[in-house]
């Protein structure tokens, strides 16, 4: 791996490829776009200064994903109990023009978000990380440092709990 200054074009390309994912991972923890952007910047600042430590460039993606998760958790712990979460985990995509359908979808999405918020942290983390674009169970296992089977079982339990809450 060349020195960071020599690999600037490569680093810029890697940053552009992974920025969205890194931001979203931070936002699953912080639920605050401003905080998530600051964490994403910190992640790439550290990654840039420690690039020589990364022996396999193929692992850059999982490396910065884990870093984002840890830095976001540290930031959350350093915040006061009245954490600055604004509930902006997820953004509902809309592709329908029917106002009634749209209203029903939004109502269901609101209930779903409330129920996601009430899930235990372990289940919520897995469910939200699964919503991050491009992360599969193996990636999530790497980020959380748990076996892939545990990710699958937590994902199943999270869906099960949501089913019981939303369709009693």
């Amino acid at each position: 791996m060349p020195e960071p200054d020599d690999s600037a074009p490569q680093f810029e390309r890697l940053l552009r490829e992974t920025y969205r994912m890194v931001y979203q991972v931070a936002n699953t923890v912080l639920a605050n776009p401003t905080d998530a952007e600051e964490v994403a910047q910190d992640v790439f600042l550290r990654a840039h200064s420690r690039l020589s430590e990364l022996r396999d460039p193929q692992k850059f993606r999982s490396w910065v994903a884990r870093m984002s998760w840890r830095l976001a958790l540290n930031r959350l712990r350093s915040q006061s109990r009245s954490a600055r979460r604004d509930g902006a985990w997820l953004a509902l995509q809309s592709d329908t023009l029917d106002p009634e359908d749209e209203a029903a979808r939004r109502e269901f999405a609101g209930r779903l978000e409330t129920e996601i918020d009430s899930l235990p942290e372990k289940l919520r983390s897995v469910l939200l990380l699964r919503a991050v674009d491009g992360l599969d169970c193996a990636d999530i296992a790497g980020i959380l440092g748990i076996p892939e089977g545990t990710v699958r079982s937590r994902l199943f339990l999270a869906r099960r709990q949501l089913m019981k809450a939303l369709f009693p």
Binding site: D5, Y19, Q24, E37, Q41, L90, A109, R159, M163, L166
Partner: protein, 155 residues
């Protein structure tokens, strides 16, 4: 119809994709209430997954990656190319301006016609002595005779 209470959780697991065990399968074959409940839960599970699928993790604000690059201070690879392009443009553009033939202003047809127009009275202003003014008299040569009553021809 409500499903059998002792099968309820396993029906829910089955709706979420857990493999059905033989005893559950045989029960479903003989219990319409549980079979109906399983169908309803499967539909609800599909709705839940569709709703989760419709959610997308929020995108970063526009320009966030640029701000990160600026903060890190990564030398931008695009800048040298921009400098080269600016240098080439500084040489080529003036050369083109010099070498490229400037388009001549087009003269409207009406202006041309106006410049060719002659007043019909121009000939009236000619004097019969015009030839004297154009020619230099030489010694020993008789001066031309001017006939004052000469007819003046108007073209």
């Amino acid at each position: 119809m409500s499903p059998c209470e002792q099968w309820r959780d396993r029906l829910l697991d089955g709706a979420l994709g857990a493999p059905a065990e033989p005893d559950l399968s045989s029960h479903l074959a003989s219990c319409p209430a549980c079979a109906e409940a399983l169908a309803v839960w499967r539909a609800n599970a599909a709705r839940l997954d569709a709703a989760l699928g419709e959610f997308a993790a929020a995108d970063p604000a526009p320009g966030a990656a640029e701000r990160a690059l600026t903060r890190i201070g990564v030398p931008r690879p695009s800048l040298p190319y921009l400098r080269i392009a600016a240098g080439v443009a500084a040489l080529v553009v003036p050369a083109l301006l010099i070498l490229w033939p400037a388009p001549r202003p087009s003269i409207p047809a009406a202006t041309t016609q106006l410049s060719l127009w002659r007043s019909p009275t121009d000939s009236l202003l000619r004097s019969p002595a015009d030839s004297l003014l154009r020619e230099v008299p030489r010694l020993g040569v008789a001066a031309p005779v001017i006939h004052l009553n000469e007819e003046i021809h108007v073209p």
